[in-house]
Symmetry: C2
Subunit: 133 residues, 2 copies
């Protein structure tokens, strides 16, 4: 059974210095996405009130919305009992968190019979992101 964390959040609990951060729509309760934070992105998020993640693919800070304009205004930051996961309650500007133009990144439903797509884009990502693919 886990003890109370030494720090909240405790980035030393992760070998790569990254902790998962869940973004949830503060009003609807919809889980929008999961990304990762390092200590620097967390500090900037706390200071600015806008979600800043660490992009594992780009290996740099990722200010959510920097390309799309779909910033996340952070209303509450919660950390779990172990100190190793973050939950951000946010207001998602533009209404869609997913790069596919969907409200939420969680749109594949898995059942014993296969995979079903549960939602459609609310904007055209080609238009929003331009030629970037």
């Amino acid at each position: 059974m886990s003890k109370a964390p030494a720090a909240v959040p405790d980035f030393s609990l992760s070998t790569d210095g990254l902790l998962p951060a869940i973004a949830q729509d503060a009003q609807s309760g919809v889980v929008l996405m999961l990304a990762y934070m390092n200590a620097e992105s967390f500090a900037e998020t706390l200071a600015t009130g806008r979600a800043v993640y660490y992009s594992r693919s780009r290996k740099r800070l990722w200010r959510k919305g920097e390309e799309s304009g779909n910033f996340q205004q952070v209303q509450e930051i919660l950390v779990d009992c172990d100190g190793d996961t973050l939950l951000l309650k946010v207001r998602q500007e533009g209404g869609a968190a997913c790069h596919t133009g969907r409200v939420s990144c969680f749109f594949h439903q898995v059942t014993p019979d296969g995979v079903r797509i549960t939602s459609e884009p609310i904007f055209d990502p080609q238009e929003r992101y331009g030629k970037h693919d």
Copy 2:
């Protein structure tokens, strides 16, 4: 920008074969916890309809509720756009997902002024788990 995942979920995207899995109360929308799944725990979850995780500390399958009786009945399994994160919509038996006796593991609120505890236990974990600490 990410492409559509090759498999949903795609456990090969993780170097250790583990993907984060968010458990959300299907009715209230409360985010209860985050744990990890490997392919085996995912397959058992899909087949049985009860959440099975992989415990990184115990290095074995963790059938949530095996000690406390607080099983999670899985109503829906969703996977994100990249295929590397799971979202389980569950009915949490016993009402509390956290080993501290709280409904949710996310009870530390972090603000620029410090950390605040946002909820209290709904059961006594000493009684529920016995002498196990």
